[in-house]
Symmetry: C2
Subunit: 354 residues, 2 copies
C-alpha cells in the first residue's frame, strides 16, 4: 500500500529509532533535523559515555545514524525546519525550510521527536553562581571535559581534589516553575561521579541530593557501584549558597541526615541540571496545534495505556518532547509511535481502498 | 504478505497492547494466557485504581481486552500455556497445553509479556510480621480493600486512625537477593496514601522511605499532592522491627532525618512489596532458551538503544518480564516489540520471496 511518508521531526535517539523502525516496516520516512548533523543531544551536547552502560556516545549514535543513512526509504533532511502545517492526517501538508529554500510536502503521519533542553542554571544565578565562578559547571560541561579526555578545574586546568554534584538544579522546583523530576539526572550524576573516581583516584567526590532516584537496575548498576566500589559519598542535604573563598568554591547548606550545617570547600561544583521542554517541542506544538500538558511538554492522551498519541489523530510524540525521559523511554516510545503511525496509515489505506 | 502468526505470551497490559498493535499492522496474532481471564496483574491482583491517574483498573483493562476480542486477527487462548518450543524464528513450533489438550502451532515471532510477581514478605517474616499480624498487609491487600469499597483494620473491621507504609520491602535488599529498585512502589504507595486520606479524613497516614522515587510527573501529580493537599507525612527512616502491643502494631526504627529512634503504634501497616521475575517469565526463558540478566529477569541486548530484543532473533520481551517496569514502560515496550517483530517478519518474507 503506497501512501504519504511518515514525517519524523528530530534526529536524536527517538527520531533515529522511529525512522529506522518505520523503514523496517516498509514505510517511507521523511526525517527532518534542524541542525546540520544527526544524533541529537548526545552529539550536540558532546556527551562522552551514555548512562548506564557507559558506551561511547559517538559510537552509539553513529550506529543509529548509519542504520538509516543506508536505507532508501528514509529521506534525511538536515538543516531543515518545519515552519507550517495544514490539514489532517493522512494528508498533512507541511512547509519545510531547508538549505535550498522552502518546500511543501504532504505527509501521512507525524512523529514529533524534538526532545528537551537543559535547564539554564543562570536563572538561579544568585544561588549557584554558575556564571560567576569558573569552577561551577553543569553535568553537560562535565561531559564535554570527559569527551576531551581530562576532567580538570576550569579555573586552573589542574586535577581537582574535591568535586561535588548538586542534584535537582531546575527540577522539583516550584520557584523556577519546574514542578517535575527530570528523571535522569541522578543516574547521570552517579555515572559521572564514577568516571571522575576512575580518572582521578585521589579526588574525593560528593553528591548532595534530596532523593537518589536510581530506579530499576540503576540501583546496583550505578548507585551501589558508586558507593561501594568507587567510594563516592552521598550526602542527603540542601545546598543554600555557593560562594568563593580564596581559590575554592564553598558550598553552604545542611546535611539533613546528620542534622547539621555543612560548609565545605570544593575545587569543582557540578550542577545536575534538569530537563525542560525544548524550543523545538514548543514550536512543533504550535505548528501542529498540539496542546501542552500542565508542565509545558506536549500532551499525550490515554495514559498510562497510551504513551505516544497526541490529541490529533495520526500525530504522535516520542521521547522527552512528551516529558522527562531516559534513553530507554525514548527508544521504546519511538517504537510505540511507529507501530501506531503505521497502523493508522494501514487503516486509512484500507478505508480508501473501500 | 502471509506468514506465521506472532505469538504473544501473557494477557496483561503489555500482552494486550502487543496483540492489539500487531493486529492493527495486519499481523495475525496468537495470544496465550495461562489464567482463565485476560487483564493480567491489574485484574488478577484486584487493583482498584491505576497509578498515577487513578482510573478504575477494571474499566481500563476491559477497554484493552475489548479492543482485541473484536479483532478477527487475534486468536485468544485463555487457560493455555506454552510448554515447549523448537526451531528458530520465523519457524518456531510451540507446544500449547490448553483446556482441550495439547497442540502444536508454528509461529513467526514471539513477544514474551509474562510480567512480574509481587515479593512475598513472608520471606522476611521475622522483621515485618506479615503472616503473624492481621494488621500488617501489603500494597496489594490494600488494593483489594479499596476495590471492595472500604479500607479497614483487618483485625477489627473498623476504620483505622493511623496507617503507615513501609517502602522497599523486598527491593534494594541484598539480603533477600533483590538488588534492584522495583520502580513503581513509591508511586503506588503515594496513590494509596491519597486514597486512604480521601476515604478516611480522620486517619493519619505516614510513609517510611529511603528515597521517594517519584520520577517525572509523579513528583507533583502524586508526591506533592499527597504532602500538600492530603497531609500525608513522609518520614525518611529505617524500620527495624514490627511488634504487637495490646491491639496495635508497633513500628520501631529510626527517623534518619531527625536522627532519633521512632517507636510508633499503628492500626495498619502496609508493606510496599516490590517486583520479582514471575514464574512464567522464568519458565519462558527456559523454554525459549533466553538468558537471564544478573537480576534474574529476561536479558535484553543493545541497551539503552534497544529495549525489547533478546539474544534470539525474532523473540522479544515487553514489560516487567525484562525488569521493573511501570505501566507506561510496559505499553511503550509492547509497541516497540511489535514494531520489531513486524519488521523482522517483513524482512524474512522479502528474503523468502527472493
Amino acid at each position: 500500500m503506497e501512501h504519504n511518508p511518515i514525517l519524523v521531526i528530530g534526529g536524536g535517539p527517538a527520531g533515529l529509532e522511529a525512522a529506522r523502525g518505520a523503514a523496517e516496516l516498509g514505510q517511507p520516512v521523511l526525517l527532518v533535523e534542524k541542525e546540520p548533523i544527526l544524533g541529537g543531544t548526545p552529539i550536540l551536547a558532546s556527551y562522552a559515555a551514555l548512562t548506564p552502560h557507559m558506551e561511547d556516545a559517538e559510537t552509539v549514535m553513529k550506529r543509529m545514524v548509519d542504520a538509516i543513512l543506508e536505507d532508501p526509504l528514509v529521506d534525511v533532511r538536515p538543516e531543515t525546519q518545519v515552519t507550517a502545517a495544514e490539514g489532517d492526517a493522512p494528508e498533512i501538508t507541511v512547509t519545510l525550510e531547508g538549505p535550498k529554500g522552502s518546500e511543501q510536502v504532504t505527509v501521512g503521519a507525524v512523529i514529533v521527536c524534538t526532545g528537551f533542553q537543559h535547564f539554564d542554571p543562570g536563572r538561579e544565578t544568585q544561588m549557584y553562581g554558575y556564571y560567576e565562578y569558573d569552577d561551577v559547571i553543569t553535568l553537560v560541561d562535565a561531559e564535554r571535559m570527559f569527551k576531551a579526555g581530562s576532567f580538570v578545574r576550569p579555573s586552573t586546568g589542574e586535577a581537582p581534589k574535591r568535586v561535588c554534584f548538586i542534584q535537582c538544579v531546575g527540577s522539583r522546583d516550584r520557584q523556577v516553575g519546574n514542578c517535575w523530576c527530570s528523571k535522569v539526572c541522578c543516574g547521570v550524576a552517579c555515572k559521572e561521579a564514577i568516571e571522575i573516581r576512575d580518572h582521578l583516584p585521589d579526588c574525593q567526590v560528593f553528591v548532595f541530593y534530596i532523593d537518589m532516584r536510581m530506579y530499576g537496575f540503576w540501583e546496583d548498576q550505578l548507585y551501589w557501584k558508586a558507593q561501594e566500589q568507587k567510594k563516592v559519598q552521598f550526602i542527603r542535604g540542601i545546598v543554600t549558597e555557593i560562594t568563593r573563598r580564596g581559590d575554592t568554591v564553598v558550598i553552604k547548606g545542611e546535611d539533613t541526615t546528620m542534622g547539621r550545617p555543612v560548609e565545605v570547600p570544593m575545587d569543582v561544583v557540578v550542577l545536575s541540571i534538569g530537563m525542560e521542554p525544548s524550543e523545538g517541542s514548543t514550536k512543533m506544538a504550535e505548528i501542529f496545534q498540539l496542546p501542552l500538558e500542565s508542565h509545558r511538554f506536549i500532551e499525550t492522551i490515554g495514559a498510562p495505556m497510551n504513551t505516544v498519541s497526541t490529541t490529533r489523530e495520526g500525530i504522535y510524540v516520542a521521547g522527552a518532547a512528551a516529558g522527562p525521559a531516559d534513553l530507554e523511554d525514548s527508544i521504546s516510545m519511538a517504537g510505540a509511535a511507529v507501530m501506531k503511525a503505521a497502523g493508522f496509515l494501514r487503516k486509512q489505506a484500507l478505508v480508501a481502498a473501500g
